[in-house]
Every structure is written in C-alpha cells, then in structure tokens.
C-alpha cells in the first residue's frame, strides 16, 4: 500500500486487513475501502471503512514506512497499555504480524472529533471543550506518568537523565552545521538547570494540541505515541506549553487553551507528582529548542535532497520564530 494509486496493492491490502481483523475479533469483517490520509517520512495513516457482521466499522490503519523510530507494533502496545490505565486513546483493534503481509502496522478505532488544532482552538463549537481541556490534559498526563514501569518493561523504551537527553539534542543541533546564537544561548541556559537523576516515569513525548482528538466535550483521544520514552514528569508539562502549539493563541500558555497553574493543579489532583513550576519552565525552554531542531531537520530534509518539499523549505524559515520565543523566554521568564 505504498500509494493508493496502485489499485492491485490497495485491493490486496483491503483483503489482508479484512483477514487480520476477522481473526482479531473472531467475527466476519469485510474491508470496503482503504484511503490514504497522510504520509510522512516515517509513517502513513489510512482511513479503513470496514463492515463487522454487516455493520459499518470505521477504523484507522497506521503503518511505519521506514526503519527510524519506534516500531508501530510497539507504539500500539503502549497505546493499549495507556488505555488500560485510564488514558483516553483510540482502542487498538489489531496489531499486524510479519505473516499478515501488512508491514509494521496496527489498526485502531476511528475516534470521532477534530484533530486540526486551529479548528478546535478557535471554533465556537468547541468553547465548552476548551474550558474542559486543561483539567482533562492534566489528568491524562498524570495517568500516563502513573503507568508502572513494569508494565512497559517489554517495550524497550529509550530513556536517560535530563542532562543526557539535552546532550543528545545538542549533538543533533551540531550535526546540522547551523550556527544560530539563540539556540546556543538557550542550550547553555537549559544545560545549567537540568538535573541528572535517572528517568522516573513514562513520558508521552509529543503531548501537544496537534496530537489530540477533541470533541464537543473535550479530550477524546491522545494520539501519536511514537516519541514515548522514560523521562522527567515535567518534560510533558513543558512541551504542552511550547508557543508553537498554541497556534497564535499565545495568551493561553497551555496548548493555546489553558493556564499553567490550572494544568499543574489538575495534574496533582489526579495523583501526579508535585510540579515545580520553575522546572516545568526549564522544560518549556527545552521543548522550544526541540521544536527548533525539528525545523532544522525538516529544512535539512529539503536542502539535502532527501525529501524535496516547498513545505519543508518554508519550515526552515520558522527557525527565526523559535529564536524569538527562546529569547523572549530567557528575558521575561515566560511567554
């Protein structure tokens, strides 16, 4: 299924998905269509319209397209474990095995709601959702961080001390051969403030407004678990507040919809560890640097010729936005 224009491959995938699903739920499942939704360098997502015992069954199939990052089957297992610990996720229906001929992929329920953050951050239809989101995100993060390490022992999640993670991010930066003084200044500032205690909790790693499904009453599902790792509980809290995920709604530091104090209170009320606002701020600066490295990576994909794309070229110019945010954070202490 490398492209839906390949009719034979698409038909074959529909049949293979039908066989996998029938076996997973011990029922007659027919897959009627498989439609590509988006494709990245590392994964592709498809809407699957199936019928289970004759009733419509909307699903999502996600497949890894490269060898980089967390295998989809591991991502699916973690998503399943998180769901079992009370985190809102799309229920995982089936995980493909090598013999299924579907590559490294898994099938999950298609959860109703909006995934485009600018829509739910601005739309009048989502006012009630926005009012509920801060507490719901604090609760969801507390539940993620409460997943026992023993429950994920088989997933080989990466991890390290905060200083080790920061050193790895700096090495990534140096690998691009770019000299952006705001980045070096922020790295120096962050490195002096991160601890070296061992990683303590399961972090989602990419918990931000663009990776959530939001319906009329709020958080419906947490998506994209492929950057999950073992780390510091402040890391996810800081990442959610990075200005890039506010989509212009900068007055609302939590993802463009909420206030930090309310997020921390909800997190602690749901059983999360005590939040040190200064440490969360350090992780917000670190997260801003992380987004800066993503901008450099995407621009490098284009400039190196790996993935020629006007979109990736344009993202290279967003580096100056990231630099502006870093300089503002260092000068004023928050955005």
């Amino acid at each position: 299924m490398h492209g839906t224009d390949d009719a034979d491959s698409g038909t074959g995938d529909a049949a293979r998905l039908g066989a996998l699903l029938s076996r997973a739920v011990r029922a007659a499942v027919a897959v009627e269509s498989v439609t590509a939704l988006s494709g990245g360098a590392s994964s592709a997502t498809f809407a699957v319209d199936a019928a289970r015992d004759g009733a419509p069954w909307p699903l999502i199939f996600q497949r890894g397209e490269g060898s980089v990052g967390m295998p989809k089957r591991v991502q699916a297992e973690l998503q399943r474990i998180a769901g079992g610990h009370g985190v809102p996720v799309a229920p995982v229906v089936a995980i493909a095995s090598p013999g299924d001929g579907l590559g490294d992929g898994f099938v999950m329920a298609r959860v109703d709601g909006e995934t485009l953050a600018p829509r739910w951050l601005r739309g009048d239809d989502f006012a009630a959702a926005r009012a509920a989101m801060t507490a719901q995100c604090g609760t969801a993060l507390a539940r993620i961080h409460a997943i026992p390490l023993a429950a994920v022992a088989g997933l080989a999640l990466t991890g390290g001390t905060a200083r080790e993670q920061c050193a790895a991010l700096f090495a990534l930066y140096r690998g691009f051969g770019v000299d952006e003084p705001a980045f070096d200044l922020a790295f120096a500032w962050v490195a002096a403030r991160l601890g070296d205690h061992p990683a303590r909790v399961v972090c989602h790693g990419d918990f931000r407004s663009g990776n959530l499904i939001v319906d009329a009453v709020g958080l419906a599902a947490v998506l994209d678990w492929e950057l999950a790792h073992l780390g510091d509980h402040h890391a996810d809290l800081g990442w959610l507040c990075v200005n890039a995920w506010r989509f212009g709604q900068w007055q609302h530091p939590v993802g463009g919809f909420g206030d930090r104090a309310a997020l921390y209170a909800a997190y602690e009320a749901a059983g999360g560890a005590a939040v040190d606002p200064r440490q969360a701020h350090v992780w917000e600066v670190y997260g801003t640097l992380r987004w800066g490295m993503s901008c450099l990576q995407l621009a490098d994909d284009h400039l190196s010729g790996r993935v020629r794309s006007v979109e990736r070229a344009a993202i290279g110019r967003r580096v100056s936005e990231v630099a502006a945010d870093l300089l503002w954070l260092l000068e004023y202490g928050s955005i």
């Binding site: 000299d179 952006e180 003084p181 705001a182 070096d184 200044l185 120096a188 500032w189 200005n243 506010r246 212009g248 900068w250 006007v310 979109e311 070229a313 344009a314 110019r317 967003r318 100056s320 936005e321 630099a323 502006a324 945010d325 300089l327 503002w328 260092l330 000068e331 955005i335």
Partner: protein
Amino acid sequence: MAGHPDAAALVAAVRDFLGGLKLDGRDAFHAKVAGNVLAIVERELVARPDAAAAAALAPIVPDDGKEEEDVPSLRTQICTALRDGSLGPATPGLLDALVAANLAALAVDNPRYSTFLRRAAAAPQR
C-alpha cells in the same frame, strides 16, 4: 524602468498566479505554502535584513582586527564563544543584540508571528 519588471515584481506576479489556482487537498495546501514563501522572498528583496543583523551582532564579537564581517561569520563567532563559555546568558548586551538581529530576520520571515508583534509593541520601552 518602465516595462522592465524588477525581481520583486516578477515574484509578486508568480504569487498572484498561485493564489488564483483552483486546487484541492494537498495541492491547495502546498500552493498556499508556496505563496507564503514568495512573500518572504518579496520582503527580503526590499528589507535586506543581513545589514541590520550585522550591525546588531558586530559589537558582541570579540575584536579580531577584521572589518566588515558578514552575518554568517558573526553568527559562527558568537556560537563558538557561547559553546566555550566565553559568552553566556549573563553577558551584558548579548540578549539585546540577539533580539535586534532576530527582529530583522522575523520582519522578513513572518511579521505576523505573535512574539514578533509583542516585541514590536514593546519596542519603545527597550
């Protein structure tokens, strides 16, 4: 010269052409991104942000006797000094210089960005 469109006029013509295309889905999205890219090019042709950035960064760089250094060289020297610790978050004037250079870049790259607008609003107090 009348009848001889300059580079900015040519780029603007292409941007207008892209804006008039009737496209769907990913093509429409990429055409919009391409139009935004051409707007950056138009602003850069007019603003010459490197001159402003060089003026802001030059006083921060330790004097090596050379004159009239370009922006990439200045940035490399500042980054090298930040990496070896001879410049740092506590260096007087460093943050202001980086902000000034950044504002020149953002005025070209995205003058609608929230932090740019907030800086611009705060400028009289600086």
